[in-house]
């Protein structure tokens, strides 16, 4: 199994490890609920070095991204980040990713670990028509430090010249210094940063953050945090069989120059009529919502829970669901032999430490 540079540090911190897409990764360090609360209320850190980092350079880099991404990289100023989906010809989602613009025609892209091979193959295939090149950065480690006090802790431990710049770094922006690439981005619904450093520097950084009382958090807490924040997980809340217009990601699809891969399929879908939408559901009775449970309303319209779990912040079961766009108010979920009532809501469930349901 593949290991990140911090593997031993995780074991030393008491991590329980699991196979995560071929990577031996921490699921928790004892209690994933405590880790969840640490991020919502204070600060926590996640080793996300398993994620795939690629750098894109060359005079036609922007043109290439306009072709393969549904969002519009022309919106990006230097040092800004953009969330986008990457679609196939049918409009299905190959992956979701973050693109950081470092300078004109110079980008850093972070894609999911589980989709690495197909993403790299897709990049290789599509880039042939452009004067641009893509290079994977397997030796760059990535730490997500998240929570209302996460940035403070980073300011304490990072070199003073970096800290000075980080102090004024705006949300969805990045700092691009030698050895430190820091995005004020994350996957928890809290303030925080994602720090990319050469892997030989990451153990020292991890240890300094530990000393600054930043709690190590596993992939378990990462999942409940992103779910509460209404953030999609590739492979569950979206896949190649669904378009961004049908799973709550229409906001990431650009309006102008509708000529990216998959755009024609989206236009056809719009003409024919979009029949599905993404909503949030809260279980009104005792139990837990899970991936693939079925929903049905009073008129027989249906839907499916794409991500479900217990919300440690709201202390109820919550889920993201793809449902018929005319889904009514009285919705039930099938759990084993029972049909239980759920409340439908607009995502997210929690943002910046506040429960919204």
């Amino acid at each position: 199994m593949k290991k990140t540079h911090l593997h031993q540090a995780h074991l030393d911190a008491g991590a329980k490890m699991v196979d995560f897409g071929g990577w031996d990764m921490p699921i928790n360090y004892g209690s994933q609920i405590e880790e969840h609360h640490a991020v919502r209320q204070d600060k926590g850190m996640f080793d996300v070095s398993h994620m795939t980092i690629v750098d894109l350079v060359g005079p036609e880099s922007e043109k290439f991204l306009l072709k393969i991404l549904a969002n519009d990289v022309r919106k990006l100023g230097d040092g800004k980040a953009l969330y986008s989906t990457m679609l196939n010809e049918s409009g299905g989602i190959i992956d979701d990713l973050i693109t950081y613009k470092r300078a004109a025609n110079n980008y850093r892209i972070v894609v999911n670990a589980g989709t690495r091979e197909k993403d790299l193959a897709w990049f290789e295939k599509q880039i042939k028509a452009f004067d641009a090149s893509i290079t994977e950065r397997p030796k760059v480690a990535m730490l997500a430090v998240q929570g209302p006090h996460a940035v403070e802790a980073c300011l304490e431990v990072l070199p003073s010249d970096i800290s000075k710049k980080l102090a004024s770094l705006k949300k969805f922006s990045c700092l691009d210094e030698t050895d430190y690439f820091i995005g004020r981005t994350g996957y928890t619904g809290e303030d925080g940063v994602e720090i990319l450093v050469p892997q030989e520097k990451v153990i020292e950084l991890w240890n300094k953050l530990l000393q600054a009382d930043v709690k190590p958090c596993g992939l378990g807490a990462r999942d409940t945090l992103r779910l509460e924040a209404g953030m999609h997980l590739y492979g569950q809340d979206m896949n190649e069989e669904i378009t961004p217009l049908e799973c709550g990601l229409g906001w990431t699809v650009r309006k102008e120059d509708f000529n990216f891969i998959g755009a024609d399929a989206l236009t056809t879908l719009r003409t024919q009529g979009i029949t599905k939408k993404m909503i949030g559901v809260v279980l009104a009775e005792r139990g837990i919502l899970r991936h693939n449970q079925e929903l049905v309303d009073e008129n027989g319209l249906t839907g499916i829970i794409t991500s479900g779990s217990f919300s440690p912040s709201a202390k109820v079961a919550i889920g993201m669901a793809i449902v018929d766009k005319n889904m009514g108010e009285n919705v039930k979920v099938k759990i084993r032999k029972k049909e239980l009532n759920v409340k439908c809501i607009k995502l997210p469930f929690v943002r910046n430490g506040k429960v919204l349901i």
Binding site: I27, S31, I33, G220, R286, G287, I288, S309, F310
Partner: protein, 129 residues
């Protein structure tokens, strides 16, 4: 190595069985099982009904996953641990005591002979730990 009390019996589905003085049995899940599940957030307690050996009779759910509970013996559920409704984490904190799940009156005491001893259960989980 997870704690496995010597005076209990066990089944492969990681449940422990304590024979009570009145001949009934008390059932819960093992330390090893609660540790594998992680933070437990919901327990669907068995109905007070009769079950055959191996029947699904309840569910323990952690944040991560759901795990069925099976009747380890043939008999009737005579009591359930209501405290778990509001405090399912008792199973994490004290799986062999406050975290008990249900009690059964059993139909055939001979079935007890087929249960694993503590030693046998320890051996069965050794590879997983």
């Amino acid at each position: 190595m997870s704690y496995v009390p010597d005076n209990f019996k066990y089944v492969e589905s990681h449940e422990w069985i304590e024979v009570l003085d009145n001949g009934n049995v008390r059932i819960g899940i093992t330390e090893h099982a609660q540790n594998a599940l992680g933070d437990i957030v919901f327990v669907e307690l068995p109905e007070e009904d009769s079950y055959a050996i191996g029947d699904e009779c309840g569910v323990v759910e952690s944040v991560k996953t759901a795990s069925d509970i099976y009747a380890p013996l043939t008999g009737t559920v005579v009591a359930v641990n209501d405290a778990l409704e509001d405090a399912p984490e008792l199973i994490n904190e004290n799986p062999y005591d406050d975290g008990w799940i249900f009690e059964m009156s059993i139909d055939d005491a001979n079935e007890l002979k087929d249960l694993m001893t503590a030693e046998e259960y320890r051996n069965s989980i050794e590879d997983e730990e």
